[in-house]
């Protein structure tokens, strides 16, 4: 007697990185949708499953492969054996099988539809379907494939109804000719709970590009190893030039977003309400992390000043979760990735208009993290504190200079808003680090000075 497919999946899903309900028992796993994309052996089956854990229901997307005999190279992604159409078949995670993933490319290239599953080719794009895929490792909530060195295909594992903001943004910006986004090639869509929902996006793979975070850390490491009396601007690994160019690129993206999507303003009463939320969050944080208490006045004062702001603030679509890990240095420029907004938030909130300074604040915090995160476990952390501050200040200033130079607005009272946004973010970080990485707590604490 073999297990049912549901039974197999229920056993397998808890071990996946992207499974969000870890640590709680699965009460039920049902298959909401099952669509055959490829028949035969190997076969490709697209599944949407619903996992119930107590009151919570979460939907996941799982493309599975079916083969009579599973070759060794796919042994590590085996889900199990089950009986289908009177045949014993091996079930496995299809994304690791490049013999099957090519069909996803072909589907998008041909704008094809399989029952409820719509494959789409991006406007003006052409797809080379001969590229072979490889799964990228080290991802949390999605699974990404790189096809050749041409495309990156991101499949969202946990599904919530609605069009993914990233697809919306990169499509609009690429159509407007933006150099700061990776060009979209196609996407897969279905209807979930009555709403069109993005299942996967394929974009240009940025060849030979590196993440801003790893470049920044290279620079920080270099500075830490320099003689103490050498000023940061004389250090070999100085990052300020890159930080300035990142500021320019950020301003460019904000301008393009403002052009492609609606903009608006928030009025003083709404600003006061926002400030209230900041204060409440601060109070809760101080209650949870007493160490924050001695610094709380700094944040409170910044929030007071924001509350007193007597005029409106312009808002627009923004990145929403902007930091050095979301930007890539290509051969010519900085490119911004992951316009998904803050993960885990409802889609409506992720698409809401906000001040572009929220992104600026996010990046400023990221510079601070880059400067200090290597200190966390170093015995000589104290002696390097000054170096960290110097690096952070220098690169934050360069980023802001680039942002202003590129037309980003930081004038007059904008500094008040920026400061409040940054400290509000730092409050959130304090709570997060206290819960998850106590040794990193000094990083956000240092923001309150």
């Amino acid at each position: 007697m073999t297990t049912s497919l549901q039974g197999l999946l229920a056993g397998w899903i808890t071990g996946q990185r992207w499974f969000a309900g870890k640590g709680r028992a699965i009460d039920d796993l049902s298959i909401d949708s099952e669509i055959e994309i490829v028949a035969g052996d190997p076969a490709l089956l697209h599944l949407i499953v619903c996992v119930r854990q107590g009151e919570r229901r979460t939907r996941y997307q799982i493309p599975v492969g079916l083969r009579e005999h599973l070759p060794d190279r796919l042994g590590h992604v085996r889900i199990g054996a089950c009986r289908r159409d009177d045949r014993e078949v091996e079930v496995y995670d299809a994304l690791h099988d490049s013999a099957l993933t090519g069909h996803l490319l072909e589907g998008m290239a041909g704008d094809r539809r399989f029952d409820g599953l719509g494959f789409h080719l991006a406007h003006g794009a052409q797809i080379d379907t001969s590229q072979r895929s490889l799964v990228l490792t080290a991802e949390q909530s999605n699974t990404s494939l790189v096809y050749g060195d041409q495309y990156i295909f991101k499949l969202f594992r946990q599904l919530s109804p609605g069009v993914n903001p990233e697809l919306e943004i990169i499509t609009a910006l690429a159509d407007a000719g933006s150099a700061q986004v990776a060009r979209p090639y196609g996407w897969i869509e279905t209807e979930l709970l009555g709403e069109p929902t993005t299942l996967a996006i394929m974009q240009e793979y940025l060849q030979n590009a590196n993440e801003g975070w790893s470049m920044a850390l290279t620079s920080v490491r270099d500075l830490y190893a320099c003689p103490e009396d050498m000023p940061a601007q004389d250090a070999g690994g100085d990052f300020a030039g890159e930080a300035r160019r990142l500021g320019l690129a950020t301003a460019q993206v904000h301008r393009e977003l403002a052009r492609a999507f609606p903009t608006g303003t928030i009025e003083p009463p709404e600003i006061k309400r926002m400030t209230e939320r900041f204060r409440r969050r601060l109070d809760k944080a101080v209650a949870e992390v007493p160490r924050l208490g001695e610094h709380a006045a700094v944040a409170a004062e910044a929030f007071d000043r924001l509350s007193d702001l007597g005029h409106e603030i312009p808002v627009q679509r923004v990145h929403g979760d902007y930091h050095l890990g979301q930007v890539m240095r290509t051969m010519t420029d900085w490119v911004v990735l992951d316009f998904e907004g803050e993960p885990g938030q409802p889609l409506a909130e992720r698409r809401a208009l906000d001040s572009p300074l929220r992104d600026v604040a996010g990046m400023l915090r990221s510079f601070d993290y880059a400067a200090r995160h290597l200190l966390a476990d170093r015995p000589d952390a104290e002696s390097l504190e000054n170096r960290a501050r110097e690096w952070s200040e220098r690169n934050r200033a360069a980023f802001l200079a680039g942002y202003s130079e590129g037309g980003g607005r930081i004038r007059g009272d904008d500094a008040v808003l920026l400061r409040a946004l940054e400290l509000s973010k730092a409050v959130y970080e304090v709570v997060y680090e206290a819960r998850n990485r106590p040794s990193w707590l000094p990083i956000p604490i240092a923001a309150f000075r």
Binding site: H69, P71, R73, S98, A99, R132, L134, V146, D149, Q207, N208, A209, N210, S214, M215, T218, S219, R221, D222, A225, Q233, D234, G236, G237, D238, G241, R245, R329, M331, T332
Partner: protein, 583 residues
């Protein structure tokens, strides 16, 4: 008879053999030798003194040819050796057909070429076509006899009003590109120093005279020229007087003549310009190139320094991405250091290049790479960095041009004026005058380096030849490896996606000859994951020791490198089918 579309050299079976040791006009064995040669820039004045007058000479150089052969050098590049008042290091020629007496005579030169050829070494020399010394008989005749045969050999005008758009190159010393000559009562044109009047290439007699000079030296057996300051041959109103069509037309004429009579010689352009502009000097790609065979790649050098300083591959990656394809039979000349000062300002255009602003603000890059230091002193005598730089020089696309003394890590003397700091005597032995000369030390043309780190008692050829772990032996070994793999000179260059911004990885490919080069530009150890799926199934073999590394599979290939470490791997072709994916 020369064919205008010769077959690409890599279809010839000869490329795994050493450069042939016979160089005869009747039987040029390899027309494209320069594409895989290792060049060595030598100052005759500074290399070896045979007659004890304190100045190096041609006979001294001949005595050292065995050393250069041992090192693996394929071609010597000599700085100007013509008769000259030496107001500009010999770039002010007063007689094109004579050797500077300090260096010897034409007989010595012919013997040098002969002895070098016997050892499989070619010889090229600097040639300044754009201008002469004001002591040249042509100029003297021109100023004294405007109506005579040389009256129109230079660019004379009644006013200093023309060609206002041409920049002044030596802005520190020259106020104008025009200087008034009281003898002739007219202004003459000069792009460089006022004592170096520009020849008037509009005059066919000048064009012919220069052709005569070229034939004269080629007949003596020289293997080619490095053409100094070639963008400036012609002038034209309302232009910057650089890279003009007429200049290219004349170079095509020179090349056609060289191809006609001397088919295995080489013209190397010195055009200190952006690669996209320099490619013009290779001529028409349809013909495989019909102007210069080679040109220096100027922006690469400062970027190698910047990349290691920033611990980031971007300065190199970007310039390689911006370097256009060159005609089939052409080659870049690449270098780390040479006799001249080099500044990025000379080669960059802010709009095309972010490096300009980055570079201009970096105090160390401004103070050092711009000025006159040797490789070892620029790198604080850090052996790991010197080795990394040498590996980059020998593996990036182009023919490497080494500067004398850098193979032993010689230092410089910043207290000597102008560019003399990097032109001190070659350090051969720990003996008097570093074995360069047996003269009274006070008579040396420049003092030898004597400081405790770089002085000749610490750094010299003799000591390093005896020590297998010396920089000299390292350099020799790397040259040997390079020469075993024609791919370094002839192959395609492809940068690989590198997961680590401090690691520069690239593949050179020429058919089945494939080399993977991985360079850690950081002072700290680094890991890197490379996507080598294209070479799946191949087993990389490290070039220095021949150690096989784990075979390449489908997953990213993980390597770890020590600080400033590098690897060269051959990637042997496997005969497994590509269909390993399907069972």
């Amino acid at each position: 008879m020369s064919s205008t579309t010769p077959p690409p050299s890599h279809t010839q079976p000869s490329h795994t053999q050493p450069v042939p040791n016979t160089f005869t006009e009747e039987e040029p064995r390899d027309k494209y030798w320069y594409k895989r040669a290792v060049f060595y820039e030598v100052l005759i004045r500074g290399f070896a003194d045979s007659n004890g007058d304190g100045t190096g000479d041609i006979r001294g150089l001949i005595e050292k040819l065995d050393y250069l052969q041992w090192l693996g050098i394929d071609c010597l590049w000599l700085l100007p050796l013509y008769e000259s008042p030496l107001k500009d290091g010999g770039y002010d020629i007063s007689d094109y057909m004579k050797i500077l007496p300090d260096f010897g005579d034409l007989g010595d030169f012919v013997r040098l070429v002969d002895e070098a050829h016997k050892r499989g070494i070619r010889v090229i020399a600097d040639l300044v076509m754009n201008h002469t010394s004001d002591q040249h008989p042509w100029f003297q005749a021109s100023r004294h006899d405007p109506e005579g045969p040389y009256g129109d050999f230079y660019v004379w005008r009644d006013t200093d009003e023309e060609y206002k758009d041409a920049r002044i190159i030596f802005i520190d010393t020259e106020a104008s590109n025009w200087t008034f000559d009281p003898v002739r009562g007219q202004y003459y044109w000069h792009r460089f120093f006022h004592h170096q009047p520009d020849l008037n290439f509009e005059n066919p007699a000048v064009q012919d005279a220069m052709m005569e000079v070229i034939r004269f030296w080629l007949d003596l057996g020289i293997d080619g020229f490095r053409l100094d300051a070639i963008p400036y041959l012609f002038e034209q109103e309302d232009t910057n007087c650089e890279n003009l069509p007429a200049t290219h037309a004349y170079l095509k004429r020179v090349r056609a003549e060289v191809d006609r009579i001397y088919p295995d010689r080489v013209l190397l352009a010195e055009a200190n310009q952006w690669p996209a502009d320099v490619v013009e000097y290779f001529g028409d790609p349809v013909t495989g190139g019909d102007e210069c065979h080679m040109a220096f790649h100027f922006p690469l050098m400062p970027r190698i320094f910047m990349a290691v300083r920033r611990e980031s591959r971007y300065p190199i990656s970007e310039i390689m991405a911006q370097t256009p394809k060159i005609p089939e039979n052409c080659q870049w000349g690449i270098f780390l250091r040479n006799h001249d000062e080099l500044t990025l300002e000379m080669v960059t255009d802010e709009e095309r290049d972010y490096m300009y602003s980055e570079y201009a603000k970096d105090p160390r890059m401004r103070a050092n790479v711009g000025i006159r230091r040797r490789l070892a002193t620029l790198l604080d005598n850090d052996r790991n960095q010197i080795e990394l730089f040498t590996a980059l020089l020998l593996s990036l696309p182009g023919s490497p041009v080494m500067y004398y003394g850098d193979e032993i890590g010689m230092g410089d003397n910043i207290w000597l004026g102008d560019r003399d700091g990097v032109r001190t005597p070659m350090q051969w032995t720990p003996d008097r005058n570093a074995g360069f000369s047996n003269c009274d030390p006070g008579r040396l043309y420049l003092p030898v380096i004597m400081d405790p780190i770089y002085g000749y008692q610490a750094i010299n050829v003799e000591a390093q030849q005896k020590s297998a772990s010396s920089l000299l032996h390292f350099t020799k070994r790397m040259i040997e490896i390079r020469k075993r793999h024609p791919v370094f000179g002839l192959g395609e260059f492809t940068e690989l996606n590198s997961s680590n911004p401090s690691v520069l990885a690239f593949v050179r490919e020429l058919g089945d000859d494939r080399v993977l080069c991985v360079n850690n530009l950081s002072r700290f150890p680094q890991p890197v994951e490379l996507d080598l799926r294209r070479f799946e199934g191949s087993t990389p073999v490290e070039c220095m020791g021949g150690v096989p590394f784990p075979p390449i599979g489908e997953l990213p290939y993980l390597l770890t490198l020590p600080g400033h470490g590098f690897y060269w791997f051959t990637l042997p072709v496997t005969h497994r089918t590509a269909g390993t994916k399907e069972e």
